[in-house]
Symmetry: C2
Subunit: 149 residues, 2 copies
Amino acid sequence: MNRLALLVLAAASAPLLSAPAAAQFTKPDDAVAYRQGAMSIQDAHFRRMAAMANGRVPYDQATAVANAEVVDFIVKLPWAAFGPGMVGGDAKPEIWKEQPKFKELSDKLETQAGQLLVAAKSGDVGQLKTALGDMDETCKSCHDSFRKK
Amino acid sequence: MNRLALLVLAAASAPLLSAPAAAQFTKPDDAVAYRQGAMSIQDAHFRRMAAMANGRVPYDQATAVANAEVVDFIVKLPWAAFGPGMVGGDAKPEIWKEQPKFKELSDKLETQAGQLLVAAKSGDVGQLKTALGDMDETCKSCHDSFRKK
């Protein structure tokens, strides 16, 4: 890779690393454990809300809000762990080649997590279901492009 | 195990599962991924503060606060993933046999994470270092009793 390409890549990556809380990693394995951990936590709380939205467990507004709060917090964390060179796990190389697209999808997911929390607070199970569906589509879209099968 | 012992165990475990946001797990593997994920995230943000407290990277109050906020949030999550039967990973069987001790240490860590956030907000690097040291001792004490080497 030439110097210009490296500079372009560094500039494209910078917004992902600018958050003050962004964890920093010296070893790719640590970054992989961190981002996979964040995904596991999101997934667990997302599924608990989905079970309520789909009627598999009784709907409870306080439980929905508490779970949405976790998702809304955790959703901001994994992206910093996809910094330059932090390859491994199920991450496709496309993440580092298509940074604007990756950033667009991660930003979209963060926005949708905020909307999910609003929906949970509304107490309307229909709104919760819609917000979960929107988020699920973004998860799938990003995984289709950037996660190994 | 007899019925009485099971009831006692269930009663001892109940406080760990009572938080409304507590993720619920049907498979031990999911619980293991969740709690290991939470530990990885805590560890990454803890180390970033430790690097500042030890002078390996420049101290920055806003960065310390942002990292302490993540630790203070995440520290509440892993315990629900040590529910009955959720064995595996590095967890020793003692976790399920000595629930009061496990709960005492996890409660202590949560309290110390709150104190860490106060220390980070103080802007005093000495307070930050002390709070990190206190938390580190509790981590080690719990790992010595309940984590496989």
